[in-house]
Symmetry: C2
Subunit: 301 residues, 2 copies
């Protein structure tokens, strides 16, 4: 284990747990949690990964994210916290030596403007996850949809050995792409359509295609989005995701269901702001935005 | 009682029960129901009118609406069925002699186009109700908000004695106005904003002002509506109604809550169609429309 690459994953939500469980075998892995209680539980019990009905237990190391010494020891930090939690951990990340590369996998685009705060010389990778996952409890994650991780170099240079390592787990594919905006915009486009709609309606992704009225609404929303966020075959991509994740609730639908804060400001707000700068209006998206923002006020998150 | 004016009220939902309870003393009144079971219950128990915590029992006559002989005996028929039920009873109304005037109190404007089917020579009054009421069971209605009934002559001539009678119950004011479109548009404007919003959000009318995000949404919707439905001080009127009915659920919010068919096609569709004819778009209203129409499909009404 001493010769293995030291990988830190920050954030032990659904995504953090999923990445840790899948990458632990190929690395000397540490999972960084917000709460000490969760770190202790993970050290004792490991991660229970439920995939297609079978449960696998993966033993890992876990410490709280405020342990800056442990953070600084890593050769790569994969940041898997929710977009709206990034600002909170930014000071911790800034304290990590600029030699440590970081891979960010967040929904939306709201976090991009904060990345320069991590130092001009740091290698920063920006990625998205196409996996579906839900956290059951502090140590258990359900892998609902197998996907890929896509990333691009946002700034700096990626070490070849690190690049090779990222590609080393065949069952958990990680793909490098040239243009980070393309990756992020594609995911943003899909998320900005599926997430707010399913959250407002309280339904699974597949319903957006099956219900004729909601299908119309999806088409209207896609049409609107295309005026500000150019994504090739955006409508097709959105519908393909609805089809393959038909039985899943989107993260935003789940957040709304459980009265949690949603990622609406990371996903929808940057698009509304871009539209405003360009003198365009996205009234359907804006309607959904105000509905959800109002609900967040309601549940006092 | 033999000398009293013979008044028939068609529809024993919240509005029909409220009107029957308030007009019974001043008329030889018959309430026409869809179900024989309800007619029997009403004949036996009368109407229980709950107003501000106290219950009053009003004895009335009730028969099923298919009793065309009874329908034809009335000197005025007040039609208080939901807008979407009008088509169902149209053949029964057409069988009533053209000498019998009819007063329609429906939400929305969708029914206006069907009124000519009742005969060119019939006196037709078109009205709106500003009362708030909820039906508790077949014989019990709660008077939630005291308002007025406004009506205009849509076609024909209104007999003076009938006009006097309509004005004869001071606690249940009925006002004649010159322009029926003005009455209907004012109510339509208010309903098209408050009803779909509260139905989608599942909240009481007052929430639309109290929640800052939803207040913004209300403003956006009002702004949109003003481009196709000219109503003086529309925004002020909408907010005034939200204020005075702050603790009430709108009829559409209740219909959605209980999985019933809503009046969305009577209230919102005519406005969307008018906008389309005029080459305008009302994307916020259209979004709410598709959400609610889709929900109706969901509950299989």
């Amino acid at each position: 284990m001493g010769n293995q690459i030291k990988i830190g994953i920050i954030g032990a939500g659904a995504m953090g747990l999923l990445y840790a469980a899948n990458l632990a075998e190929k690395a000397d892995l540490t999972l960084f949690t917000r709460r000490e209680e969760q770190a202790n539980a993970l050290k004792q019990k490991g991660i229970s990964l439920i995939d297609n009905g079978t449960t696998k237990t993966i033993h890992i190391n876990a410490v709280v994210v405020t342990d800056t010494a442990a953070l600084s020891k890593q050769q790569l930090l994969i940041v898997a916290v929710k977009q709206y939690s990034l600002l909170e951990i930014l000071p911790l990340l800034q304290a990590v030596p600029v030699e440590t590369p970081m891979l960010f996998i967040q929904n939306g685009a709201g976090h991009l403007e904060n990345l320069p705060l991590l130092g001009e010389k740091r290698t920063i990778l920006v990625g998205i996850s196409e996996h579906g996952a839900g956290r059951e409890n502090d140590t258990t994650v359900v892998w609902r949809g197998h996907g890929r991780t896509k990333y691009s170099v946002y700034q700096g240079e990626l070490d070849v050995s690190l690049e090779d390592w990222l590609n080393s787990v065949p069952d958990f594919p990680v793909e490098q792409h040239v243009n980070y905006l393309e990756i992020i915009q594609g995911k943003l486009f899909i998320n900005a359509v599926i997430n707010p709609l399913t959250a407002v309606l309280g339904v699974r992704n597949g319903e957006l295609l099956e219900n004729p009225e909601w299908h119309k609404l999806l088409d209207l929303l896609v049409e609107e989005m295309e005026t500000v966020l150019p994504v090739q075959n955006g409508a097709l991509k959105v519908k393909e995701i609805c089809r393959v994740t038909a039985n899943n609730f989107s993260s935003m639908a789940l957040d709304k269901k459980y009265g949690r804060k949603t990622e609406i400001d990371g996903i929808v707000l940057p698009i509304l702001e871009k539209a405003e700068r360009e003198g365009k209006t996205l009234p359907t998206l804006r309607t959904l935005y105000h509905i959800i923002k109002g609900l967040e006020g309601e549940s006092n998150v």
